[in-house]
């Protein structure tokens, strides 16, 4: 299906070999090794370019957006015109400006909640896998609990009690409900790593647990951590859109989810404002597509079973 990477990684030694090769090449181009591997995969490259475009739009949002996204002094419920490419909302706001600024919200939530839940997952997974014994029993129970408790009802319940609905609350709620999957994968990875010779050597050399984890183990889990982050960020972007669509988002922030919520409530369906309805969903879908395409590259890197033969 995908254009096979020049050298497809096999478990264990080969992956390391490939990383070494990529690092060699990266030394000339001054790019990190994993990036070179990803860039060589055709689908992944398209995904990276798409994501890059979204990041650029988000960074330059105040410059690109023609109007203030909350400025409501335009005629209400306009169809697309020259002045308002995607029309206006039922409150008289410019839909195109909201779309541009919405990219910012999605990426901030994806980045922040992705990092936060990756961090929670990393700390819990590493501690469980490295210490083992009763600590592992307790933490594994927590991880499995986090995996089975249905996420959206939990998010909705947590968000419902909150006195203020800020963007940071949304990020916290998403991270608290979304860390378990990454933690489980990191735990099983560290269990296979901790008995390797170089870890034993470091322990005999008198290194402390914290130092061994930080210096010997984490660097060998980079690709796993990146995969986990991508998955968590994707989940967070979807989660924010869903919560905002349900009207549980931050009312002060413009996001694609709140746009769809407003379009649904503001009668975009009845007034026939297809652009107001289609644009936010399409943007969300393209952002998710870019992550999926990038994941093709990462999957081929980390899981040899998924490669095509």
């Amino acid at each position: 299906m995908s254009t096979p990477a020049p050298a497809v990684p096999a478990p264990g030694a080969d992956t390391e070999g490939l990383q070494v090769a990529a690092t060699e090449q990266a030394r000339h181009s001054r790019l990190p090794g994993w990036f070179v591997i990803l860039w060589r995969n055709g689908k992944c490259r398209i995904g990276l370019l798409m994501l890059g475009a979204f990041v650029l739009v988000a960074l330059l949002a105040p410059l690109i957006a023609p109007y203030d996204p909350r400025g409501d002094d335009f005629p209400t419920s306009l169809a697309p015109t020259g002045g308002h490419w995607l029309g206006t909302t039922a409150q008289g706001e410019d839909v195109f400006s909201q779309l541009i600024v919405g990219a910012r919200t999605s990426l901030i939530v994806g980045l922040a909640a992705g990092l936060l839940s990756t961090l929670i997952g990393l700390v819990i997974g590493l501690t469980a896998g490295y210490l083992q014994g009763w600590v592992d029993e307790v933490l594994s129970f927590l991880i499995n609990l986090g995996l089975v408790v249905p996420a959206l009802p939990l998010m909705v319940t947590l968000a419902a009690y909150a006195p203020v609905r800020g963007l940071w609350l949304i990020i916290a709620v998403i991270s608290v409900t979304g860390w378990a999957y990454g933690a489980r994968i990191k735990r099983s990875q560290i269990i296979t790593l901790r008995t390797r010779d170089y870890i034993t050597a470091a322990r005999f050399a008198g290194d402390g647990t914290a130092r061994i984890i930080a210096r010997e183990i984490v660097p060998n889990m980079t690709s796993l951590i990146v995969v986990g982050f991508m998955g968590a960020a994707l989940g967070a972007i979807g989660g924010e859109a869903g919560l905002a669509f349900l009207g549980l988002g931050d009312p002060q922030t413009v996001s694609w989810g709140t746009m769809l919520n407003q379009a649904s409530l503001g009668g975009a369906l009845l007034t026939g404002q297809w652009a107001w309805l289609i644009a936010p969903g399409l943007a969300l879908s393209l952002l998710i597509t870019s992550f999926t395409l990038i994941n093709f590259g990462i999957d081929a890197l980390s899981n040899p079973h998924l490669r095509e033969d």
């Binding site: 009802p153 859109a241 349900l246 379009a263 369906l269 998710i288 597509t289 079973h305």
Partner: protein
């Protein structure tokens, strides 16, 4: 037996944790959700029964009494299924409201889950059987692409095209104003018409997980030694695919399916909200927007317990179907 004992312990442990989480969430909140509800209820109706107020305090937190006593009272109430009265639908009890919403959700989400599972497993098997052919890439790329579409957005588009523009189906709700729930033909056909669009919305994205899971598992199991030996023995290709590949590959999907059926109880908040469908998901969102904490807590607990029971049954099933799991756990 060690496998089953461990699974049972995990089930009891998660059940306890879920019930306790449900006890803690309202009590960790700033302010006093229980008293807010009680005072609003008292203002709303003169005829409120002190016993009903007490039930709400047990569920959401009492101003006096230590936490441990509250916890024991709460556990007692949960065991008896006494979750208090709904604030929005007073004087109906929370259990009554759940009973009203449950059949709608079970029928809509249950049926679409079963169809999604069957369709997804078949397509996944087909894609793996014709691996790297055009069929395979159409199925895998098609489902990957569909999977990137936010399904509440798809639901909105369905309403826009088929309900508002073409007027083929009713826009929202579970049944029309002209019929009332009951076993009459008019009601059943009306409810069916109302369920078509939500069902389509769920069926577009529903099979994707099963397709990808089945295909990847089967590609893997066809690469294992016993399958390669079957090829070497010259067995027919179709037989190898079905008895050596699909039979093993379907195991994780079967347990996934058991869990999916358990999560049916919670309904689907997004799709039910878009279609204003009278199921559990919409009831949860409604209780959240009107700050009906007793109803919200009960739905959350009910949904979680449904998933936990299903997860436990799936573990048992997996233990019976795949002896390797039992061995791995004892070793």
């Amino acid at each position: 037996m060690a496998y089953f004992a461990r699974r049972f312990l995990f089930f009891i442990g998660t059940l306890w944790a879920a019930v306790t989480l449900n006890f803690l969430i309202p009590r960790l909140q700033p302010g006093d959700p229980a008293e807010a509800i009680v005072s609003r209820l008292a203002g709303q109706s003169e005829s409120i029964d002190p016993a009903q107020l007490q039930a709400i305090r047990i569920m959401l937190g009492t101003p006096d009494g230590n936490l441990f006593e509250q916890y024991l009272q709460y556990l007692g109430a949960v065991v008896q299924g006494d979750f208090g009265v709904s604030y929005t639908y007073f004087p109906y009890s929370v259990t009554h409201m759940i009973g009203q919403a449950l059949p709608w959700t079970v029928i809509l989400v249950g049926v679409t889950q079963i169809i999604s599972f069957i369709v997804g497993t078949l397509l996944g098997t087909w894609a793996a059987y014709r691996r790297n052919s055009r069929v395979d890439s159409v199925i895998t790329l098609g489902s990957t692409f569909l999977g990137t579409l936010p399904f509440f957005w798809l639901a909105l588009l369905l309403i826009y095209v088929f309900a508002i523009t073409l007027r083929w189906f009713p826009e929202r709700g579970g049944y029309g104003g002209g019929s009332s729930p009951g076993w009459s033909w008019i009601f059943i056909s009306d409810a069916f018409q109302h369920s078509v669009l939500p069902a389509v919305a769920l069926l577009i994205t529903g099979p994707i997980g099963w397709i990808i899971g089945m295909r990847n598992n089967m590609v893997q199991s066809l690469g294992e030694d016993h399958a390669r030996l079957a090829v070497a023995r010259g067995l027919p290709r179709r037989r190898i695919a079905l008895t050596y590949g699909a039979r093993i590959a379907i195991l994780p999907n079967v347990t996934g399916f058991a869990i999916a059926l358990g999560s049916v109880l919670g309904g689907t908040v997004l799709v039910e909200t878009v279609f204003n469908y009278p199921g559990m998901g919409r009831l949860l969102l409604e209780s959240v927007s009107s700050r009906d904490y007793p109803l919200m807590q009960a739905i959350f607990l009910f949904t979680t317990v449904g998933v936990l029971v299903a997860n436990f049954l799936a573990d048992l099933l997996y233990g019976f179907l795949d002896p390797r799991v039992r061995k791995a756990e004892t070793a």
